[in-house]
């Protein structure tokens, strides 16, 4: 459904917009119920989400940990809910466990429903351009590592590669 658009509305922000063919109540559930979140918020192929804790109330904390199936390395992230307006808006802070950039991020999720479809806008604001670019790069580096893993798998099984 729809194309994901990634833009940089300012020098400290990343914004993502995408349309989903579902009412926003369901999109909101998929972002707030741990048993649903851990089914899709997985990052690159080959990663699972063994920890997904969410105390969905203002001031409540969330904690997510991903684990690579191939080498067992983990990546954790956590934060606090600042604002919750079901089923249309969530504002939360964001900080990686191994924070390699200063300060924390502020995420704003906005869901707008029209004709049974939902437009999702997720804006992530960081404390500096350097912090934002560090986050952008982390996605790149992990994504690249994952695609190399897949390439290695393909090369290891020639029948798969030539099929």
């Amino acid at each position: 459904m729809g194309q994901l658009k990634v833009t940089m509305p300012s020098d400290r922000e990343i914004a993502m917009t995408r349309v989903f063919d579902a009412p926003r109540k369901l999109v909101f559930d998929a972002h707030t119920k741990p048993e649903l979140v851990r089914r899709w918020l997985l990052g690159p192929p080959g990663w699972s989400m063994p920890v997904c804790e969410m105390d969905l109330r203002v001031g409540g904390k969330y904690r997510w940990v991903w684990r690579s199936d191939s080498d067992g390395s983990t990546m954790g992230i956590g934060g606090v809910y600042r604002e919750i307006v079901a089923p249309e808006r969530i504002v939360s802070t964001e900080r990686f466990d191994e924070a390699w950039y200063p300060g924390e991020g502020l995420n704003t999720l906005v869901l707008v429903e029209e004709g049974g479809r939902t437009t999702l806008t997720q804006t992530m604001r960081y404390q500096s351009t350097e912090a934002r670019d560090a986050v952008l790069k982390s996605g790149m580096e992990k994504g690249v590592a994952a695609s190399y893993d897949r390439l290695a798998e393909l090369l290891a099984s020639p029948s798969e590669a030539t099929r």
Binding site: L4, M8, L26, W40, P44, T129, D133, L136, K137
Partner: protein, 115 residues
Amino acid sequence: MVMHASLDATFAALADPTRRSILTRLASGEASVAELARPFAMSQPAISKHLKVLERAGLIRRGRDAQRRPRRLEPKRLAEATEWLERYRRLWEGNYQRLDALLEELKTKERKWDS
């Protein structure tokens, strides 16, 4: 590290809407400062300032004609920056495709409960 630092400069340069418009204009061919200033309600010195930022970020360079000093796009650097963003986009697109499938499942369940 050096490459990353210069990519940071590239993204800082791309953050400004006027500079993005200048790049869009240059994508259709080289242009002088006067030509670039025309569509904007801006003085040539103001445009020159933006051009300097783009030049430092490696996004544009000066053409050969010494008299007109036309600016032209440096597509390699722009492609590098776009590639960076594109990989981030692909990572999230993977997540959202899984979310599409999950939402289909949730819709089916809701329909069953309704009937």
